[in-house]
């Protein structure tokens, strides 16, 4: 499964340098070291930048989502630039002005400088100066620059469409842009008389390449986004083994210990229905149904909990928790555990006076009969250490910090 996680620091640095070389060479070969070519786009004379950039975006996008769809790339581990609408809109505006004045963007100026273009070298020095000024004045607008951040906000969320549909929309946009770019270039750049410009695309190679991309999009469209079950199946067998070996089933006393230790981040998720939850639940546990848990927003919430947060899944028995476990695990949520024996075992270990046991109940139903729905107001919701002295139990919770790759520009 990609991206690679066991690269080590120097492996990552070496790989980054190689990728950078590919990047630099591609920019250079496409002519991005020439400021006239870059500025030319704004006079509709030379549309190289638009063509190269958008082709790059749609090709990379198709490959990324295709490899995620067939299960060789874990998209949740891929860095997505957080969305800060005001900062990016204003930053884009400022950079647009800088672009037309300076004739480069930062990446292209590096390539211009590397081929000894003196204007490129001056531009790089300018960027150096600009980032310094930004850092020096940052305290003045820090709040503004960091406001309204939305993590992993994708176009598919914005338009509420599937990945396949979104790829089609982006393709449509790109092809329309290419079409007008070609016409603009021949008219303004090559000064072809209007009467001689063909409005029907004729180049067979271009049409063929565009068709290949569209075919990919079709496949993606019909494959759809992978379901949690599919994603779980793709995870290595070690994950299934953790469940089979009961390595993630935690003794009730260990959860109580963590509650008493007041560890920084503990999240107890109660997957039972509302009536059971109202009758009794563990203190500070939050009720989320399995259906809600599988929703994108809630998965996102779990993925972005401050690290390391320990998450406990709780149900009356273990079956629901195990299902919830598979869903969250398939989306890469770490430090995830299941309460062994569920609420039923919790209540047999920390019994409540006057609450009687129901015989012959099924595994996933509450085995105790409550007369009052007191939620977490029972002492057993936060069992005292003196009242129920600790016993020996096998410790299973191990804290792991998850690291996400950060963006190249970050």
């Amino acid at each position: 499964m990609f991206p690679l996680e066991s690269l080590g620091k120097f492996g990552l640095y070496a790989l980054s340098m190689l990728i950078g070389m590919g990047f630099g060479a591609t920019l250079e070969m496409s002519g991005f070291g020439d400021s006239r070519k870059l500025a030319g786009q704004f006079y509709l004379k030379d549309m190289t930048v638009v063509k190269v950039m958008f082709t790059g975006v749609i090709v990379a996008m198709t490959l990324i989502f295709f490899s995620s769809s067939i299960g060789i790339l874990d998209f949740d581990k891929v860095w997505v630039n957080p969305t800060l609408l005001v900062s990016v809109a204003l930053g884009g505006f400022i950079m647009g002005i800088g672009f037309i004045i300076g004739g480069f963007c930062p990446g292209t100026s590096i390539v211009a400088a590397s081929t000894f273009k003196i204007d490129g070298i001056f531009f790089v020095l300018g960027v150096f100066f600009g980032v310094t000024v930004y850092g020096e004045t940052y305290p003045l607008f820090q709040n503004f620059a960091e406001s309204g951040e939305i993590k992993r906000y994708l176009l598919t969320d914005l338009f509420s469409v599937s990945t396949g549909t979104m790829i089609f929309l982006v393709f449509a946009l790109a092809f329309i842009m290419f079409y007008f770019a070609e016409i603009a270039e021949s008219y303004f750049g090559k000064k072809t008389p209007w009467s001689e410009i063909s409005l029907i695309p004729k180049n067979k190679i271009k049409i063929a390449s565009a068709s290949i991309l569209v075919a990919f999009a079709f496949i993606l469209f019909f494959m759809g986004d992978p379901t949690p079950q599919k994603r779980w199946n793709r995870l290595s067998t070690t994950e299934q083994k953790l469940l089979d070996d009961r390595a993630v089933f935690v003794h009730v006393d260990e959860l109580r210990e963590l509650m008493h230790e007041d560890i920084a981040f503990l999240k107890i998720v109660d997957l039972r229905d509302e009536s059971d939850y109202n009758l009794f639940h563990i203190k500070n546990s939050k009720r989320v149904s399995l259906k809600e848990l599988s929703k994108k927003e809630s998965i996102l919430e779990f993925q972005q909990l401050p690290q390391p947060t320990v998450i406990f899944l709780v149900s009356n028995g273990e079956r629901l928790s195990a299902e919830g476990y598979k869903i969250l695990k398939s989306y890469g949520v770490t430090n995830l555990y299941i309460l062994r024996g569920g609420i039923n075992e919790w209540l047999s270990r920390y019994p409540i006076e006057g609450v009687s046991e129901i015989k012959n109940s099924s595994e996933e139903s509450l085995k105790y009969r409550f007369d009052f729905a007191m939620g977490s107001k029972y002492p057993s919701s936060f069992p005292d250490l003196k009242q129920f002295p600790p016993i020996e139990f096998p410790k299973k919770v191990i804290l792991k910090s998850k690291k996400l790759a950060s963006g190249g520009c970050g």
């Binding site: 920019l27 250079e28 990379a60 100066f129 940052y138 390449s209």
Partner: protein, 170 residues
């Protein structure tokens, strides 16, 4: 004789594959401006360590024992430079020269390049990425902010192009 540039669509496909490989192998995209910022902080840290430690922006990269150069993005920047150099060498494009419009002097072009670079550097930090890191990389993973950024950048460029046409006249 300098070789011709490759077809932009082919260039785009190669760029797309490189960008994909970056995401596929390392989990992150391409970038340049962030690394320039890191190099800047790294150099400041060598000559005025105290200043880096007391500035809330710089200290995130080079404060205390942090080494600002110790980042994959810096290596990518070095790679980008080398890649350009190698391609320039094989295509016979390594030449000290200034590319500019015909109506302005070299000196004017240099000043404009510096000013434009400074504006771009500032803007790139505000938008948390330049055309590569925010536009290209974020665009490929469908980040909403990156698309807003790209449209804002290009629209502004077209809007202001008229005022600077003298500088780019052929």
């Amino acid at each position: 004789m300098e070789r011709r540039y490759i077809n932009p669509y082919i260039g785009g496909v190669v760029l797309g594959v490189v960008l994909f490989l970056s995401f596929f192998l390392t989990g992150g995209g391409l970038g340049a401006s962030g690394a320039v910022s890191r190099v800047q902080v790294g150099i400041f840290d060598l000559v005025a360590s105290f200043h880096v430690d007391t500035n809330i922006y710089f200290t995130k990269m080079g404060g205390g024992t942090l080494n600002s150069f110790d980042s994959a993005s810096v290596w990518m920047l070095i790679g980008t430079f080398l890649g350009g150099l190698i391609s320039g060498f094989f295509n016979k494009r390594l030449k000290f020269e200034t590319r500019k419009g015909s109506k302005i002097s070299n000196k004017t072009r240099w000043i404009m390049a510096f000013i434009g670079g400074a504006i771009m550097g500032f803007g790139a930090r505000l938008s948390k990425g330049c055309t590569s890191g925010q536009g290209l990389s974020g665009g490929a993973v469908m980040a909403v902010g990156s698309w807003v950024f790209m449209f804002s950048l290009f629209a502004t460029g077209f809007l202001f192009a008229y005022f600077f046409r003298k500088f780019w006249e052929e």
